[in-house]
């Protein structure tokens, strides 16, 4: 089995362009996470109902399951946020390198 290779492209980004792309990817991932949290909020709202009467008449088990799923998602988001923070710190370091290059 051969090693994976990056296909040849006519345009390859420069170092500074790659850093910009990385910054953008962090912002986009953050926005994606915000959409997930928002969807979870809407799910809980729909489950509880506008009159706070649980309109779907869920069983006790279903209520517990709903809260379990929200807990799981939030735990995953915590982990993802940590990774994003580390990525941001690393990319910041890279951008500082570029600045030093400009200064020199």
């Amino acid at each position: 089995m051969s090693m994976p290779t990056i296909p040849e492209e006519n345009f390859r980004p420069t170092f500074s362009e790659a850093v910009i792309d990385l910054f953008e990817s962090i912002a986009l991932e953050e926005i994606a996470l915000s959409h997930l949290i928002n969807a979870e909020a809407e799910k809980v709202q729909a489950f509880v109902g506008k009159r706070l009467d649980f309109p779907t008449r869920p069983t006790n088990g279903q209520i517990v399951k709903l809260n379990q799923s929200v807990t799981k998602l939030m735990d995953t988001i915590v982990m993802k946020e940590w990774l994003l923070l580390k990525k941001l710190e690393n990319v910041m370091e890279l951008s500082e390198e570029i600045e030093h290059e400009f200064e020199e």
């Binding site: 980004p13 420069t14 500074s16 362009e17 850093v19 910009i20 792309d21 910054f23 953008e24 962090i26 912002a27 986009l28 953050e30 926005i31 996470l33 915000s34 959409h35 997930l36 949290i37 928002n38 979870e40 909020a41 809407e42 809980v44 709202q45 489950f47 509880v48 109902g49 706070l52 009467d53 649980f54 869920p58 006790n60 209520i63 517990v64 809260n67 379990q68 929200v70 807990t71 939030m74 735990d75 988001i77 915590v78 946020e81 940590w82 994003l84 923070l85 941001l88 710190e89 910041m92 951008s95 570029i98 400009f102």
Partner: protein, 190 residues
């Protein structure tokens, strides 16, 4: 936005985009807190049969506490991420506009202490009260944070607040309102 990093303004733009993304997460968290409050209120709704089950109530309390704890963790990371962006902005002569808000951010770091207080097993009324205090602190913090991000992004971009701020009234966080309403109801019942 151009993909070349040839001026300080472009780095500022990148940082602002990051801050805007963080503010979107903050707003989503506010909505989640609001829906948790609704669930909290639903369990105090005596017209619903399901809510007379004490064991289910206890389970729900524990889950709500765990979710709030995770939310606080996410917020803590968001604060640290904001710091990274602020540092970059501060280096670029916008210090006076940002530094006055730092105290509010560092205050938020103490929120973990409250999260730890929630690990204790449920003990009926006390636990509900503790959960209420935590939710109130989280929503208060949300109001401060959204206000901070709104002001910074509008100052920095020299433009009106982004569209997703349009329906947010900073001093009027719905989650907090719901809780105040609930507390008033409880007082009346007592």
């Amino acid at each position: 936005m151009s993909r070349t990093m040839d001026s300080p303004h472009q780095i500022q733009d990148i940082c602002l985009r990051g801050l805007e993304a963080i503010s979107q997460t903050e707003i989503a968290i506010d909505r989640l807190l609001r829906s948790l409050c609704l669930q909290y209120m639903a369990f105090n709704n005596t017209h619903v049969n399901i809510c007379s089950d004490e064991k289910l109530k206890d389970y729900t309390k524990c889950y709500l506490a765990r979710i709030v704890k995770s939310i606080l963790r996410v917020q803590n990371i968001l604060v640290r991420k904001s710091y990274v962006y602020y540092r970059e902005l501060i280096d670029r002569d916008v210090k006076e506009k940002v530094i006055m808000n730092h105290q509010a951010i560092s205050e938020s770091l103490s929120r973990d202490i409250f999260a730890k207080a929630l690990i204790t097993p449920p003990c009926r009324q006390e636990h509900w009260h503790r959960l209420y205090i935590l939710l109130r602190r989280a929503t208060n913090y949300q109001a401060r944070k959204i206000s901070l991000l709104t002001s910074i992004s509008s100052i920095q971009s020299h433009s009106p607040a982004p569209p997703y701020f349009a329906d947010q009234t900073v001093t009027n966080v719905p989650a907090l309102q719901s809780l105040e309403y609930l507390m008033n109801q409880q007082k009346t019942a007592e």
